[in-house]
């Protein structure tokens, strides 16, 4: 009796069942539902909001951004997961004209009591007031301060992965083996699909929408940046192709289990924002293809860098995984993909890494989203992936 399908199921189930601490509470509602909540509640009455442009997930809620097409102001709203009132804040360009209110009149506008820190800012054609976080621009109430999303930090692990990828690219040239460009074609197709749906994923570009910049310019710059990165990835894959190899079901299942565990252990905030898109399957596919390829190249590099250790290679990889569990944070998924792929033979690295990345996305989505659409899609990917692995295990010699 062929027990491999059972082993495959066991590995995937282990990735799902091992208990992990909940680091980030799952988001109870989608960003679009949060936006509806804001639009139904009160907001700045005299301003045109424009369209919902972008959203960003923080640990305790959604930050949403509306901006009219002229770009002279934008509205940000903070929708907490718990039952708190929506907090909105208008950001107005400093050159917009207004009035110069006295302190007492400005206090009347926002209903601020006396006391606390008070500042005023004389703009070219108006005066702004700040009463301990409650602000007035001219005679317009600007709303409340909001939690700022945490700044992205790169740290040591991305540097290690980049170094390993550089070594891997060199290995693919110096010790090429049986190179194939099928993955490059798939990558080009996936990234082309991503560019094709790019206008609908521009909601992820939270940082580019700023006061004074018209939204179409912000969107154009983000799309141009995305196109440059995608073209560079395709060029890289064309120069440094992948190695031809037949995947093995048990290795893929181990990668799937590791990816699921990594995703559940350290869900990625950006992944929650992606889950709010309608085009999330396309983004997931492009990420799997691109990150799978890059992780495979890094894995080949890491494997060759550890080659002099011979029998100690596997213990070192296990040690790195242990260190990564505690310190990699949101990079845990890519780190897991690279480590798992570097433990298998070079020709099977790409399949293994791509499997780890795809199940990492599934695990991260299941751990960080609590509304139905992304969970349904993640479950479909999980079932389809597990089924494919089981089928592969069943027919494998």
């Amino acid at each position: 009796m062929n027990l491999r399908p059972l082993a495959v199921g066991g590995l995937v189930a282990a990735g799902l069942a091992i208990p992990v601490p909940e680091r980030i509470p799952p988001a109870p509602r989608s960003p679009l539902a949060a936006a509806r909540l804001v639009e139904e509640s009160s907001g700045p009455p005299v301003l045109g909001w424009g369209r919902l442009r972008a959203w960003r997930r923080t640990t305790e809620g959604w930050l949403l951004l509306w901006q009219p097409s002229h770009g002279a102001w934008l509205l940000r709203a903070w929708v907490a997961d718990e039952a708190k009132p929506v907090r909105w804040r208008v950001h107005a360009a400093p050159w917009l004209p207004g009035v110069r209110l006295s302190e007492s009149l400005a206090r009347l506008v926002v209903g601020a009591e006396g006391g606390g820190d008070t500042y005023h800012f004389d703009r070219p054609a108006r005066r702004d007031w700040d009463f301990a976080g409650r602000r007035v621009a001219g005679a317009l109430e600007l709303g409340y301060d909001q939690p700022e999303p945490a700044a992205a930090r790169l740290g040591l692990w991305p540097a290690l992965l980049a170094g390993a990828a550089l070594a891997g690219a060199l290995c693919l040239v110096v010790l090429p083996g049986d190179i194939t460009h099928r993955w490059t074609l798939a990558l080009a197709g996936g990234l082309t699909a991503l560019i094709a749906v790019a206008p609908s994923i521009v909601a992820l570009a939270w940082g580019v929408f700023t006061v004074g910049v018209r939204p179409w310019v912000a969107q154009l710059s983000w799309l141009a940046g995305l196109a440059v990165v995608c073209a560079s990835l395709v060029a890289l894959a064309a120069r440094y192709g992948t190695l031809r190899g037949r995947p093995r079901a048990l290795e893929l299942a181990a990668a799937a289990g590791a990816g699921l565990l990594a995703g559940r252990l350290a869900p990625v905030e950006l992944g929650v924002s992606v889950a709010g898109l309608t085009a999330r399957p396309v983004v997931w596919m492009a990420v799997v293809l691109a990150l799978g390829y890059l992780a495979a190249v890094a894995a080949i590099g890491l494997r060759e860098l550890l080659h002099p250790l011979r029998r100690l290679r596997l213990p070192v990889l296990v040690g790195l995984a242990a260190v990564g569990l505690t310190s990699a944070g949101p990079w845990l998924g890519p780190v897991a993909a690279v480590l798992v792929a570097s433990a298998v033979a070079r020709p099977r690295a790409t399949w293994t890494a791509a499997t780890a990345v795809s199940f990492w996305i599934v695990g991260s989505t299941m751990a960080s989203c609590a509304w139905v659409e992304p969970l349904r899609d993640a479950l479909l990917v999980l079932l389809a992936g597990s089924g494919a692995l089981a089928f592969l295990a069943a027919v494998e010699r």
């Binding site: 070219p124 550089l166 060199l170 580019v208 004074g212 912000a218």
Partner: protein, 449 residues
Amino acid sequence: MVAGCLAATIYLTAGRGVGGREMAGEAVREAFTALGWKPLGTPMTSLEGDQAVAWALARGRGGSGPAAGEGSALRWRVRFPGGGEGAVTISGAVWALRLPVPADPGQNLYPASVQRAMRERLAAVFPDAEQWRWVAGQSWREGDVTWHRGRFAPAVTGLPHGWRTHLEVEMAGSSVVSVQRHTQPLASDVGVVMGRIAELQLLRSVGVLGLALALVGVVLAGAEQVAFRRPVRWLGGVAVGALAWAAGRVGALPPWECALGGVLAGTVVGFLPAPGLMPAGRRLIAAPAGVLVAVALLALPGVVDQLGGWLPPRAPLLAEGGPALLAGRMWFPALTEEPVLRFALPTLAEPLAGWWGGALVGAALGSLLHPVPAVPLTASLAAELGLNVAMAVVARWGGLTSAILARGVCEGVLRRQSLPAGWAGDAVVVAAAALALAAGVGRRRKVVP
């Protein structure tokens, strides 16, 4: 052709900088004398300007040239070593004055008589003082001296519709000690300019991202060179990198930009395989091409104006600039961007998209690096794209050296316009053109004895 190119360069640079330095000192001295105070010594003169206001003023005027009110954006600051300073417009009109408080400022005036006294004393300096509209005044006492401050609104400002200006005049006793002019631009004019500046910074970040990714490709190519024991030009790379870094430092650019430029230029020259040698005489294309592109870009604002848009001159103000700054600013982009955009990208992209595919990607990225605010924004991006495509043609025909020389000459002619006038600045640009011509002429003489 050599003589013609040199003559064109001299014509485009000599006397084209910001003039009026000599007039400024004399104008302030005469104003002080008219107010009854004799300044001592030779004044120090410097150019000061506000780039955003200058662009907003040009935008408000619909692209027409400087006129009255120009001092809001650009003026000469004159400081006398014995005290006293003033500001003068480029055309020589006194914009502002500050005098030392005299030991005996004269008889104290009643507030009711201050307005008349101010007009009478200032009439010798500002002929239109009688037409100024009185806005407000205040008086206070310091020791035995009564101080007065009056605010006037000039009848004729020369500023675009919606812009406002006022003058603040201060008197101690019966002596005028200060005349300051304040301009409040129309919010929509400043808004358009500030918005465009923010938009261009955002677009520039895409260009910088492209350069960074190109650097990754160059590093990978260099690693391959090392791995296969092919020759790597360590010395040449370090030399070119150091030259680019030094040009950035001389050009007073931020340290990170100098470092990035040096690394880019050094890695490209050091790591990539040497370009195929072009016939030496083809370098003769560099100087004429640079001059021609500069002429086209200088003429473009007028063309855009005729079409109903607005495009300011490409070079931003370099108020504190001297010849060294000009040299740094013209050679830094030539030494850093040309190797990446016209050599590295075409070389790396050649197996996939051909030389021209890579060159066009380079031109598109290059067009995002130095645009100026324009209405519509695409006018500025199109102008930059034109410059970059022209440099790609030069690089294809005459090689990388030609592209670097052509870009240096072009940037020199364009940036000369925004620096103070003077023969030293002119000489820097003419020397660049002469260097570019000598690079072709000298090598050709070796080939053809």
